[in-house]
Symmetry: C2
Subunit: 370 residues, 2 copies
């Protein structure tokens, strides 16, 4: 924990200590509106793994989101504790300790989880027996992400197993069909083709389930980089985008075409120059513990031509445009390479409107890994 | 924050929830002993940016360390609050907000900071005027790390400026000469040559200072990958190694020669298999929010031949040796790719002895970025 705060509500932007995580509220709210509009009536269930912040989730729900997704059980518990009532954990929950907490959470909120193995269904049915409200169980289908998920051939038997456990507190809620890899294919055509493949798999799965007499209440998936393709397929009911609220350098590197829905940068790291050791270089106080580099370096925002070249743990090396100079103490805004793990480095996010601190929101589920 | 604990003191290893950060105390203590022995009487001041954990620092000091290094002012404040009395911040502190906190901290503990610009000396002298105890000011010298630090030609005038501010509460404490890049040069010869260059620079700097009648109280630097070279130069007084206490995959990838000092893996991520979607693959619950990937993927520890192939935010893809299978719920130990930013993802570290939880230490300075 920071032993002191970087600022107080009401402070001017220039006085905020660095490095700090910054949310520009006007841009953030425009992004929320833009997704609601672009969803064209599909349900929006933003992924809260991106932000881990109940205040962000509440803003998303106030704009019309039906609830949130989480990736971890403990993350979901943090949001439940903050009053979020409808949560889909887009993950498999395995192991006796986690299942005990899952049962407790399922009594508090409308909860969903994924399965991709028959043994998980058996464990969930045993867990939920006698529960007051049913647990929503989605089958995760492998649609190209090459991570978790079953092939189409396994969907009908798994759905039958879930339906057979209706009396044991399980509800067959539908299919989870998310193509994570496709979100960052750089060319618009690659993304469109990847989702073309995914929707082909989804169509087959739905047909086979319908043929077996099983209704599919919901197909959920779709991220910031592709959701308009899933939307236009006519097969998906729910959009899970997360990064759209903030944007990051990695999503910004996607090359858009006319059909793409574009969001604007709302999330930044405020950093300061702490050393000017050589011509052409400034060293800033935000390294890889301040801006995650798993998806590459952050970008400089308000200094065109300057390039964040290299991060070490607590230092960033910025290459200056020839002929320009950086001053000790000068502040620079960075666009994080990847918003999700960057949010996970901070305990709070400093929200700005009109160049002043409007609010400071706790990132309550930061570090909730269990 | 995690809404519940992964375990309690006394629990058996097998029952600890995942993903969790694990310290094997026997190996950790052997590493501490090994550095004290290999230091051959040089002062040891371990870098606490590696762990951010006061309990670890206290163990290092109990074994003979003279104090700790920190990289951030707020990090140093966390350690001071936990009772650590001698702290060198191996960084430049710039800006009025930070300077105010620096002054407060300098009244609490024996504190050192670095400078690499005359303006920093002016600001520190103005800050420390009238202080009860002096601030130790080290000149950071560029010895090959290509980050902060001045060239040899600037050392004498900067030292004179510090000495001239003796009455204003500054004490010229010596030279900070750390070659960060050299720590991870894979070949022993490359590391030895890089430190050969660094010690050449240090020698020049000392000669010029002595020629100007300025004594150099301390030369500090040297990390886990090279410190025996700095030690053998006869020029360094103090070793700043940090990762030695834990080790990680990245340091493990260094190719050693006979003169190298080797440490053992004491730090792990306990993870569980949560999906077995295809032959040859297991998906585990530790992704890049559980084990930082800035220095590459973690390594599997207790499953020879299995390879952690790819991390997404909350998933890890493990490639299995042909003919082997992973079971749902099976636990696997990972060696983090880079210990420092991995420690910074957790609120606590679970310490084991004899397969049982011996202690749970708070990582109090986690997220202390200011």
């Amino acid at each position: 924990m920071q032993p002191w705060s970087a600022c107080q509500v009401g402070d001017h932007f220039d006085t905020v200590d660095t490095p700090s995580l910054i949310l520009m509220l006007d841009a953030f709210e425009r992004n929320l509106d833009r997704l609601m509009q672009a969803s064209q009536g599909l349900r929006v269930r933003p992924h809260a793994k991106s932000h881990k912040c109940p205040d962000v989730a509440k803003h998303q729900i106030a704009k019309g989101a039906v609830g949130i997704c989480c990736q971890k059980l403990s993350e979901a518990a943090c949001f439940a504790q903050a009053g979020i009532q409808d949560i889909l954990i887009t993950n498999q929950i395995v192991g006796p300790k986690k299942l005990k907490h899952l049962r407790a959470l399922a009594e508090q909120v409308n909860l969903g989880v994924l399965v991709d193995h028959p043994a998980q269904i058996v464990a969930l049915a045993s867990l939920m027996s006698g529960a007051k409200q049913a647990l929503n169980v989605y089958i995760e289908v492998e649609v190209g992400g090459m991570r978790c998920g079953v092939g189409v051939e396994a969907v009908v038997p798994m759905a039958m197993a879930i339906v057979a456990a209706t009396d044991q507190g399980l509800r067959f809620a539908g299919l989870h069909c998310y193509h994570g890899r496709a979100q960052h294919f750089r060319q618009a055509k690659e993304r469109s083709e990847a989702i073309g493949h995914a929707t082909g798999v989804v169509r087959q799965a739905i047909e086979q389930l319908n043929h077996a007499g099983i209704n599919v209440p919901c197909v959920t998936g779709a991220g910031t980089g592709t959701f308009w393709h899933e939307r236009d397929s006519g097969l998906y009911n729910e959009i899970q985008a997360g990064s759209y609220a903030f944007m990051d350098r990695d999503y910004g590197d996607n090359i858009a075409d006319a059909s793409d829905v574009i969001f604007e940068n709302a999330l930044f790291i405020k950093t300061s120059v702490m050393s000017t050791p050589r011509d052409g270089v400034a060293i800033v106080d935000a390294g890889l513990k301040a801006s995650s580099v798993d998806a590459g370096m952050p970008a400089t925002f308000n200094q065109p031509g300057w390039r964040y070249l290299k991060a070490s743990d607590e230092h960033g090396v910025i290459e200056l445009t020839p002929g320009t100079e950086a001053a000790l103490g000068q502040s620079i805004l960075l666009v994080p390479g990847h918003c999700d793990p960057t949010m996970n480095l901070y305990d709070e996010i400093i929200c700005f409107r009109d160049d002043h601190v409007h609010a400071i929101w706790p990132i309550s589920a930061r570090g909730a890994l269990l």
